[in-house]
Symmetry: C2
Subunit: 304 residues, 2 copies
């Protein structure tokens, strides 16, 4: 039960048609850890912040069982900042500002106490750094999951392909899957990506759910039909956090359990988008999670 | 077991990245009837063609148990013609040509022998004509289903709203649902549309499946992850045909059976898009349909 999470830590300013949040805690490592904390502890976090990052948010993470030994705090530095505005239908957003700040020179140093981690979730960072994390470990983990994005697929393709060779599960959205594989059809895209290394490909389709591909199975998970979506920021990372959380909790990487993990990822993401930033993730209960898991089952179940 | 289908009958010219089909039989009534014919007979068709419409296609429909008493053949007239070209990813298409021809003055006259039909599927035609069809019947049918499109939602909104008051099930795609309800969120959109009359709202999401809403249930049906899609033309009408076909076969309009009907609609649509026009629908077997139905179940099923 040892999960290593590496990714960005940010202060986000988010505008949606429903409101605005200024300089709130975000970044892939934060969403992943907050979501996974409902399933497992400790979570070994590796990331970097400036000394402007609120202590209260670090305390929150600690209270959720997140080990901060791998957190680098740069004295006098500023935390990575992202600012964006969502359109009316929430499917499109404009990035208004990106300030990499201390994240620009992020070098994920893995503390000795983290090096036997059996589960690794590599958030969306430079594929060179993702690979370095894996290489710093004492032993091959049971499962390595990575996320990536268009910026790396286009800009560091060769490095990304090297990283994918040592990754078990890749989680991407549909446009990233198409770009990575040069294939518009998602089934073919998933097959091509499996040839690159990962034995499991998960394609997130936002409000349309997610697809899980392994050599033996295809699984389609619905998205929860929500009436109120306030802020889609971090939904994909939250999904990844719920997904890995369930796997670590159960120590089971079978196809059947991966399906359940996809549903738990979807459950956590469905809560996350109902409030701004990580607000909703801070206040969940196990009962709510189990209830929504049942709702997800009902959503696609029918008597044959 | 009496199904009345009213809609367009067309000769389509279709270009996709994978090929081209010239002046092939199409139109909503043809796709609906071809799909529904795997579940029920006779199918009472009302539509109009010119005398250029191939006799072989009419023979095909007859061979599938389609009653052509309600088919109007206009001597010297030309059949409705649509021509379109699909983009590389098949989600977008350009209409290259539309010639309404005999369809322009289509007046759906319901033969006396059709007037006791218990199930009615109104394809996408003028809402005034849809309502006239319902009013021509001797008794209130068990289930009236209608399709519509942006053209009527924007151009004949008041007439459409009158028609919706006497409709049980509306089948629309996601953009039509948003336009009809002025609501981007599909859950809210479905609720608003239910307030307009239909007790069941089905929202088709193309390659992302379909959602079924009733007052008591929300059901999410996946789309089948196909590796080869050659021609999406008629997929929505094929869905409607499989949907109503299963309902007529089982004479069961319960929520639970509507869910199964959504899956059968999805099954038929998944076959249809794998060939041009109605080619695939012409050659299906019950075994293939049952097999794909099982595949659909497996696609979203997991051990809890």
């Amino acid at each position: 039960m040892s999960l290593l999470v590496v990714g960005s830590i940010a202060l986000d300013t988010i505008e949606t048609p429903f409101g605005r949040a200024d300089m709130v805690a975000g970044g892939s490592a934060v969403y992943i850890s907050a979501a996974a904390s409902y399933f497992t502890a400790p979570i070994r976090l590796v990331g970097v912040v400036g000394d402007d990052f609120p202590k209260s948010e670090l305390e929150y993470l600690k209270s959720r069982g997140v080990d901060l030994e791998g957190l680098q705090v740069v004295k006098g530095g500023k935390t990575f900042h992202w600012s964006g505005r969502y359109h009316y239908d929430l499917n499109q957003r404009d990035t208004l500002d990106t300030q990499l700040n201390v994240f620009e020179k992020f070098d994920p140093v893995i503390p000795a106490s983290y090096r036997k981690s059996r589960y690794v979730l590599l958030g969306n960072i430079d594929p060179v750094l993702q690979r370095r994390v894996i290489e710093s470990l004492d032993a091959k983990p049971d499962l390595v999951i990575c996320d990536t994005m268009n910026f790396w697929i286009e800009g560091k393709r060769d490095e990304l392909l090297k990283t994918l060779k040592v990754v078990d599960v890749i989680i991407v959205n549909d446009s990233e899957a198409r770009l990575l594989s040069s294939e518009p059809n998602l089934v073919k895209a998933a097959k091509k990506i499996m040839m690159m290394g990962p034995r499991v490909v998960i394609i997130k389709k936002g409000e349309h759910g997610a697809l899980l591909f392994t050599s033996d199975t295809v699984f389609s998970a619905p998205a929860f039909p929500l009436e109120f979506i306030y802020d889609p920021t971090g939904a994909g990372d939250t999904f990844a956090g719920g997904f890995i959380g369930h796997i670590v909790r159960t120590e089971d990487v079978s196809d059947e359990n991966l399906k359940r993990a996809v549903i738990y990822g979807s459950v956590l993401a469905s809560f996350s988008v109902a409030r701004f930033g990580i607000e909703a993730l801070k206040e969940l209960s196990d009962i709510e999670i189990m209830g929504r898991y049942r709702d997800f089952i009902d959503l696609s179940r029918f008597e044959e």
